[in-house]
Amino acid sequence: MSPRRVTALIRRIVAQFRRDRRTLALIFVVPIAISALLGWVLRDQQTTPVRLGIVNDGGAAGARIAQAIIATRAESSILPLPVDVPASTITDAEARSALRDDRLDVVLVIPSDVVAGLASATGPHLVVMTQGANPPTEGGQVAQVRQVLASALASAVPGAVAAPVIEHQTVFGAANQDPFDALSPFFIGFFVYFLVFILTGISFLRERVGGTLERLLATPVTKGEIVLGYTLGFGIFATLQVIVLLAFTLMRVDVPAIGPLGAFSIGLAVPSAGNPLLAFVVALLLAIGAVSLGIFISTFARTEFQILQFIPIVIVPQGLLSGIFWRIETLPGPLQPIARALPLTYAADGLREIMIQGRGLAASGVQLDLAVLVAIAALFVVLAAGTIRREVA
């Protein structure tokens, strides 16, 4: 392994990118533009104020939290967040019937063990109930309630409190995961994977077709150096892309006009959830796998157009099976092992755990995701090196 040759490959890839303004735009502008569009679309769905009910099972501590929420009634007119905060708490039965009859949108249940939860490192465990008839809309509503809850907790409980774990229950239908919760980490992973795959695939295809690969292989460069050079070269751009995307998402978090954006970024409610650096590592591992996948796939294409044909074959099914749109456990039996073999599944899961659930390296789920991503990236590196036809290593 010669650092000089690897550096030469990296420099060359960077120089090629610098010349190719449109591709640079594709990497950085497109993900932001699409995320912004998504945020806009979701924001404009939120037209009516969310009618909130509070059920207090938590005794005095619960009452204090409930009072804090009710106290935001005065501020709610200032807050752009349209949550119709109730004047007092109600019983569980009243809440359920009000949800069924469409008199309330969201009910917040403060559980009996809220005191213990406030003291613990994992944060209080709260239950949010919705009707369950329109998951996307209700997801947005829950996000808005989460905002109110966050500010109420901050004022009701002295000292730092870990972000609450919110369990979303529904009156009708199965308990539903908040769809927006899952979307923003997924989009980060998906964009990185998709764009890095396409760019590497096309770039390496050009090497194969344009005769430069043949010439490369007539030099003393090793296959390992080529794959490493590509991985690092494209890794630079993947890194920048992930940083820009994460910064974009987190910047939205810090915008004080929370209301209109509530549906766009669920990270709003949990600004401290998870280490962005860890999320960055997950996205980067995914990108490294995508570089090698691009090199590998380029063997099976003769033109750039044929690389694009791999999008519905390689990328779209990964997105559909990644557990974001349907949880893996709910997929048809034969599809489950496939879903569990795809890198995007683990990246999306890891990003969700880190960004939404605020888990760290200590969580076994995050460890598994990272380990699988490393293993898949390593496998693709070997596969990619194997597709570079050469008589000498």
Partner: protein, 274 residues
């Protein structure tokens, strides 16, 4: 048969021609005059039922220009790739400067110009040559500029390849193949699609490389280039059907031009496929 020209051109080899990385192997090998620059023993390469190279035994002593001539599909490119170790023969052995190939280290002693230009169109002239040079070794700026000066592209170092004419790209491709000053230079149809003036320029350059001790193997299907070579190898149907200087081959075939000589030799070879 390689008499007259041989004595003319076999001036003392200059090992300084070799890239630093290759000096130990190449320089030593070149000094032993018995060691051929390129050698094939019983080379056979089959692709399925097609025998692209069908039993080639050649040894090419260093310091000369060899022309590999034959029609399209005769097996020229495959033979070249076998000789320099870019492809593995189905059977037989290939040696570069006495070292068995395929060998990654020996690639440092070889300058290989493919039929395609094999340069990066988005990059500038300078970035291209810097990239390929770095794959071969640690060369300073002056060395790279020298390589560009030889092909008269030193004034265009900053120009993106996209803005170059076809001939200029071909010149850059040649510079990239020679930047490490390899003792063995293999050029696959280097003059295809270039204008006569540039062709003359290329051949002048090949001649000066040879004078400095490099061994050149140049493939072509244009017979009028053949007389510029010290020695010719006629190839057809994956076999070397004749070898010798242009003058000698014409004399042996009893014809006035090489094209007729080639046809005469191919006719004589019954096994050759049309």
């Amino acid at each position: 048969m390689r008499d007259a020209r041989m004595t003319q051109t076999s001036a003392p080899l200059r090992p300084s021609r070799a890239a630093p990385a290759a000096v130990s192997a190449a320089g030593a090998a070149a000094h032993a005059s018995a060691t051929p620059a390129l050698e094939g023993r019983g080379l056979v390469k089959t692709y399925g039922s097609i025998r692209a190279v069908d039993g080639v035994d050649i040894a090419l002593p260093p310091g000369r220009i060899y022309g590999l001539l034959g029609p399209n599909g005769a097996g020229k490119t495959t033979l070249i790739r076998l000789l320099v170790g870019l492809a593995r023969p189905t059977s037989g052995e290939a040696y570069v400067l006495g070292r068995r190939v395929p060998s990654r280290e020996m690639l440092a002693s070889i300058g290989y110009m493919t039929q395609a230009d094999g340069i990066y169109p988005e990059l500038s002239v300078w970035e291209n040559i810097r990239f390929f040079a770095a794959l071969y070794g640690n060369f300073d700026r002056e060395r790279l500029m020298d390589a560009l000066r030889i092909v008269e592209l030193d004034g265009r170092a900053g120009t993106p390849v996209l803005q170059l004419s076809g001939g200029m790209r071909r010149r850059l491709s040649l510079a990239c193949a020679l930047v490490h000053r390899p003792p063995v230079v293999v050029l696959d149809e280097p003059t295809v699609g270039i204008d006569p003036a540039l062709r003359v320029q290329f051949w002048r350059h090949f001649r000066s490389l040879s004078a400095e001790g490099a061994t050149l193997l140049v493939s072509s299907h244009v017979m009028d280039e053949a007389d510029r070579c010290d020695e010719l190898l006629f190839i057809r149907g994956g076999k070397v059907i004749a070898r010798g200087s242009g003058e000698e081959l014409r004399r042996r075939a009893g014809t006035a031009d090489l094209e007729e000589a080639f046809l005469r030799f191919s006719g004589a070879d019954v096994g050759a496929t049309a």
